[in-house]
Subunit: 295 residues, 2 copies
């Protein structure tokens, strides 16, 4: 098959490593080059089989790339995309795996060269675990990958990006960068903030009695602080919108509780349960996977 040619992966952590593993397991690339800041990480990735070779030299890493996938923290993506477009061959497709899209797309599109090579993407397959040690060839399989083309996105590159993410087993969804950012603010970013607030609000002395609701409600609070601080800042306004919606729900709960309105609490809970059931009906595979397979 080898249909994607040489693929350069910038940032070989959980997502970048999983992309490399999937490309190699499926025989989709002629060669997978990992680009990272330290030799140690690249050696881990190579040992795990996520890349054929690794380099800390960005420019030589992307020089022969038919496809470059930028998998760094969001704050570094735009600069890496621009540089990969400038230093890669003329044919190169540059795409990314960032959790936010608008700021990245705006920054890249200010650069003529990069705009002609770039298709913004977000495979929704994060985890509270980080690093290539937790990467797997199946991480992306069956997951939604959002592609966010604009009027400026070249049609040829868009087709190649679709083919790239689909070949990894992703279900493709397309929308504007703005729609992506608002959706993810509601479905991922705000829920992450809620999990961290929950973890932070429970005094240590009570943890002995904590059980399933605490465990699941705080799971993603184990995620990397720098990664999430970056995502929140890169998606500030949409996260504030989602946060307001959440705080309003909490205020409604508090008001009913203060009024000892048992009937009101029941009605409020019933609506919440209906939403959750809708999710279970629409995403049955996500709902039943095991704790070990959570991503």
């Amino acid at each position: 098959l080898e249909r994607h040619g040489t693929v350069a992966i910038i940032g070989v952590g959980l997502i970048g490593g999983s992309i490399g593993l999937a490309l190699r397991a499926r025989g989709l690339a002629q060669r997978v080059i990992g680009i990272g800041r330290t030799q140690a990480t690249l050696a881990d990735a190579e040992r795990k089989g996520a890349i054929d070779a690794g380099t800390t030299d960005f420019d030589s890493g992307v020089a022969q790339a038919d496809v470059t996938v930028v998998c760094t923290p969001v704050g570094q993506i735009a600069a890496a995309v621009i540089r990969a477009a400038e230093r890669g061959p003329a044919r190169t497709l540059v795409t990314d795996a960032g959790s936010t899209k608008r700021l990245i797309v705006e920054a890249v599109e200010r650069n003529d060269h990069a705009r002609a090579a770039f298709v913004a993407s977000h495979p929704i397959a994060g985890s509270e675990r980080k690093g290539v040690a937790h990467a797997s060839a199946e991480l992306l399989e069956g997951r939604v990958c959002v592609i966010t083309p604009t009027a400026q996105t070249p049609a040829g590159r868009l087709d190649r990006a679709r083919s790239f993410w689909a070949s990894l087993g992703c279900e493709l969804v397309e929308m504007t960068p703005e729609a992506h950012d608002q959706s993810l603010a509601f479905t991922s970013h705000m829920p992450h903030a809620v999990a961290a607030a929950l973890a932070a609000s429970i005094p240590d002395e009570f943890l002995r009695l904590a059980a399933g609701a605490y465990r699941d409600g705080t799971r993603v609070a184990a995620s990397d602080p720098a990664l999430w601080a970056g995502i929140f800042c890169a998606n500030r306004q949409p996260v504030l919108v989602a946060l307001t919606a959440f705080q309003d729900q909490l205020a409604a709960f508090r008001a009913a509780l203060q009024a000892e309105d048992e009937e009101g609490l029941r009605t409020w809970w019933d609506i919440a349960r209906g939403r959750r059931r809708l999710f279970d009906a629409r995403r049955p595979t996500l709902g039943t996977e095991s704790a070990d397979g959570r991503h």
Copy 2:
């Protein structure tokens, strides 16, 4: 063994049914009598092997009980405890599985007869699933059971209650009803309200992009509305205290986000992650169990 003699279980749902299954699987009871409101539920419980026999006649069900365990919704527990103490034999131990303790203990202790027979308990083993269909002999195994004796609790009954819950595989913890209610408000009741608020705040149109953080953060929102409205009303003040602590954390997050304080967000998240890691270190078995085994 049969050391607990005849055990009456009032309310044969998830918890009551699991107690019956464990008693019978471990050969701990001479006879397990289920007491319920409908013949259909009792027939299900008997078919599943959770009880030896069932009856809708409360008084005849408890008449021969060495131990009566009240597993009804919290709002009905005190009245059932008092009636079981009055209609059971003089030797009877009455205990319960309610998620809140102070109001129940206060109501029971106003009755001389019931006070002499009662030991308040809470095996922490709930689930978003309800009904005897989801009951299992292993549900209570390794779970914490909080026993909340007061100065009024008779020492003999307390020993028998300890023996009863320990024989089901529970790890025993003892504290006052007030300490229990505040602990559970933080570790369970408030996290349940947060999960429901999260589920309610996310518009349907975004659910397609929801993944792991949403799934785990809203899991317990699938729980029974009437059950939870009852728990919140029976533990109003402690839940309000926990809710305030949570809302304060969220306000701190919002302030840092509004100020675009990336360093502040990182520090805030780091503290939350530390709490969550403490939980993982203390409750390793709860942290790794599979989604299907969640209770």
